[in-house]
Amino acid sequence: MKLKNFYTEHESFILGTGFIVFLLILWESIPLWYTLPKGMALFFTTPSDIAAAFHRLLLNGELEKHFYVSAIAFLAGLGLSIVVGLPLGLVMGRSATLDALLDPYVTASNATPRIVFLPLLILWFGIGIWSKIAIVFVGAVFPLLINTYVGVKNVNQVLVNVVRSFGASEWQLMKIVVLPNSVPYIIAGLRLAIGRAILGVVVGEFFGSSQGLGYMIASAATNYKVDVVFVGVAIFMALSVILTLAVKQLESRLASWRPETAKTF
């Protein structure tokens, strides 16, 4: 009876992890009950092989080197997009004229997958770290900008009027009402921006690069080292899941009053 109680209490956790474990075991066991044809075997790997490759790469320091390069591009690009996106979003939210002037570019760029600018950015910034930072920046800046903008737009007008009537300047208004009110939106924007930034790092390093996790994946794929490909993919997966879920946690704490919408990443 106790076991049953335990199960009903933790059902979602048990089923969730159970399913993932089941899939991993299934994957691992494929070679046992099915001999792959020669051509397919080249592309096939098992979780244990991937773990072994991870261990190997970790020990010879290769992973650390690639990780470091990718992390720099990610942090620099994301930092730059925060520095640019936040103020611009705030200003666009407060000034209707500026909003009207910039809106065409923001809307068009936001709808376009920014990854398409990659060849141009490589042409401009070379194949070094700068083109990666640039692609991360153009990917991450728009979600931040737009979410900040929406946050400012959704500020309660009554609060604004109250603060105004008591003689606050635009700067004070920003500090007391607008900014605190937009924080949940900004955090939501940050979560989207993290996803775009990681996408930028991955794809940016696929092309014209000699370092970084993306490069590791691309070169391993060309050499049919499928286990190494999955090591890279798993690292990116783990990072994105951890980062986005952490921000999501923050988001739900800050804005528990906002209505539930579908998950977006």
């Binding site: 969730g16 065409p104 068009a108 709808a111 990659l118 060849p119 929406v150 794809v203 490909v229 579908a262």
Partner: protein, 262 residues
Amino acid sequence: MAAREYFTEHRRLWLGLCSFFFLVAAWELVLTYIVPVNPFFFTKPSLIADAFKEQIQSAKLWHDLAVSSQAFLWGFSFAVIVGIPVGLVMGWRRRVEYSLDPFLTALYASPLVALAPLFIIVFGVGVLGKAALVFLLAVFPFVFNAFAGVKSTDSLLINVIRSFGGREKDLYLKVILPSTMPYIIAGARLAIGRGLVGIIVGEFYAASEGIGFAILQAGDTYRLPDMFVGIIILSLIAVGLTELMRKLELMVAPWRASDEAR
């Protein structure tokens, strides 16, 4: 006075247009009269316009677009066919939700585009590899939006159908699907963006035709005007499709003028 009223009413539109034309004019004039344009590094609107005219008349552009859209449509259709049922079942059956949610959320949150090199190598540089990539990226918005749609279905409506003796089929067709529709269309909007990323990355990585390949090749051979034409065409398509979805969303669910993430 009417003109003035007209202007204040459409102020936003006019300012936007002005800023666009001003930018284009400034770009052209600066590069013509002040700094001579370095053709290996930058280009100017008049050259882009020439390249645009030339490309529109050439068969290659249309061929590239056809190749890319074929892969996109295959991947996207499969994403619809697979994603929506999975999402509906996940929303309706609690145990399925518990089992699938952590796994699919992890996949949704991670940059699956990292698998692109592997996909291209396994499935080849043709339609199949790109379509598989598009499917992989586009399926999750459908799953999670259909899921959220079912979850948000008014349980009162479900109870009404039940009390009047409606069958499971009626429940799905008369309540769940209609109330999920706006969510699914919102998902389609997200899926379009992700699917386009799949096409572009797939074609950047390895392809011999397609719009992404055309952009990459123009860049590699320093034909900047042609590259800009490709980028502009792709943005037009992306903006067009997203706007279409937004219109559709308003049509299906006018009460849900969503302002989250344009």
